[in-house]
């Protein structure tokens, strides 16, 4: 399939701004501080993997970007524009974004979840077609054709009419990947996408994602415990602990020769 189309919007917005910028972002749940004044930049088309012990705030970063959580403090920018916030009445002042502001901007971001979260009342094809038709206003036929191409890409052309509940976990996750790509996101968030899978089903999902990474220039933010996958797709790996970045560097360098003791300890625990 013409896979270049997956990220065709990317070429339309030539800009020097980073795709994502966290500016001193803090997230608290009650008294618990998950992210503490985090600064983070992800370049357009960059593939960044977040690693670290559970509870270190990696998933929260993805959930903040997907607007599933609101920041407690600080501002998230996407494409150089305030994302978590919008201009307030006073010039130069930012206020927390309204639902409408978020709705308009979150479309360029897609997410694949640990638990797949497919819509059980829709067939595989309907799952993929739903948002392009109802959110982007694409014609059913056009969206259907593209959905079939995407399902072909993830190796599920023979399952278009199946119900998600009839599929294996690996198959469901591949549908979820096709569903996210159908919205032509510029940024794709992968939240521990293989953690809920039986070991023998992990490879089929990671292979699909490697293929997506290879054939598109989509910006990837990935939380995973699969270090082999992280090494294959990442330009950069960030080691998290306690809501802060402990260490950051190119995939091979960080995985082979971690500079920090905490990174070494974490890596030896997941290997």
């Amino acid at each position: 399939m013409p896979i270049e189309e997956l990220s065709e919007d990317l070429t339309k917005v030539p800009t020097a701004h980073p795709a994502v910028r966290f500016d001193r972002v803090t997230k608290r749940f009650g008294d618990h501080t998950v992210l503490d004044g985090l600064d983070l930049e992800v370049a357009r088309g960059e593939r960044v993997t977040l690693i670290g012990p559970s509870g270190s705030g990696k998933t929260t970063i993805l959930r903040l970007l997907m607007t599933l959580e609101r920041v407690t403090d600080g501002v998230i920018h996407v494409d150089g524009q305030p994302f978590s916030h919008m201009p307030g009445r006073t010039a130069g002042k930012l206020v927390p974004a309204s639902e409408r502001h978020l709705a308009a901007r979150r479309r360029r971001i897609g997410m694949v979840f640990q638990q797949f979260n497919l819509f059980p009342h829709m067939s595989v094809l309907e799952n993929v077609v739903e948002a392009p038709v109802h959110v982007l206003g694409e014609g059913r036929e056009e969206a259907g054709l593209r959905a079939r191409e995407l399902l072909d890409l993830v190796g599920l052309s023979d399952k278009v009419d199946a119900r998600p509940t009839r599929l294996s976990g690996g198959q469901q996750q591949r549908v979820a990947i096709a569903r996210a790509l159908a919205m032509r996101p510029e940024i794709l968030l992968l939240d521990e996408v293989t953690s809920a899978l039986d070991p023998e089903l992990v490879a089929e999902v990671l292979d699909v994602l490697r293929e997506v990474a290879r054939r598109t220039d989509i910006t990837l933010l990935c939380v995973t415990h699969e270090m082999g996958f992280a090494r294959d797709v990442s330009d950069r790996i960030l080691m998290f602990d306690g809501g802060r970045i402990v260490e950051s560097g190119p995939a091979d360098a960080l995985l082979d020769a971690p500079g920090e003791e905490r990174t070494r300890a974490f890596l030896s625990s997941v290997r």
């Binding site: 997907m66 009342h121 959110v135 996210a180 919205m183």
Partner: protein, 224 residues
């Protein structure tokens, strides 16, 4: 008993009308109740506190005051402040308000029971609140609503004899006429029991079919 059967035969057209009136009250009352159940049930999840508060008051009021009293109020008290409604309209209103209040809890509970992850998946696909509700949450909530709605519907049917107290010529009203003209109390009420039971069974079967269809759509229990 010797006079009962010929009297019964003569009364068949009137009993038929009574049966139709009961069905009419049940269907219209249930339709109004369903409308109110959805409206109140969805509003009870509003982000605005005043809206939630107002819904709470309405629901608790109509659940907390007896159907019997609501019906009498509509029929006997409302005319005193200048509104006179047809007996059947009073009945449908009372049934709709009372069972709508109970039904709103069913809708609220079912919507709440749809996993939050489904809403998050819809947000990640750029869907707005209305689209999420209409395309993702409600279709899944429906499957959870059918069983409790079946109970409410059968209860609503069984509450319709109250309408005969405000002169609605329903099945109970007509059989009561038959009973007073024949004096066959046991036979008349036995017939009445049988007829209500029959209607309840038909309703249950219909709702069971609905439930199976709703579950099949979710890919549970024999769906494809």
């Amino acid at each position: 008993m010797a006079e009962f059967l010929p009297e019964l035969r003569r009364a068949v057209p009137r009993l038929g009308e009574g049966l139709l009136t009961t069905v009419e009250a049940t269907v219209l009352g249930a339709a109004l109740a369903l409308l109110l159940a959805y409206t109140l049930g969805l509003l009870s999840r509003s982000a605005r506190l005043p809206v939630r508060g107002a819904v709470r008051v309405v629901v608790e009021f109509f659940r907390g005051t007896s159907l019997y009293v609501q019906l009498f109020w509509l029929f006997f008290a409302l005319p005193m402040v200048g509104f006179r409604l047809e007996p059947l309209v009073c009945g449908v209103l009372a049934l709709g308000l009372n069972f709508g209040a109970y039904g709103s809890e069913v809708v609220r509970g079912a919507v709440t029971a749809v996993p939050r992850a489904q809403t998050e998946a819809a947000i990640a696909l750029g869907m707005g609140p209305v689209l999420r509700l209409r395309r993702v949450v409600l279709p899944q909530a429906h499957a959870l609503m059918v069983a409790p709605f079946k109970n409410l519907l059968v209860q609503l049917l069984k509450a319709t004899p109250l309408l005969s107290l405000v002169t609605v010529p329903d099945l109970t009203f007509q059989i009561d006429q038959l009973r007073s003209s024949t004096g066959a109390t046991a036979a008349s009420y036995l017939l009445l029991l049988g007829l209500y039971f029959g209607m309840a069974v038909v309703l249950s079967l219909l709702m069971n079919a609905l439930e199976r269809a709703a579950k099949a759509r979710l890919g549970q229990e024999g769906g494809t």
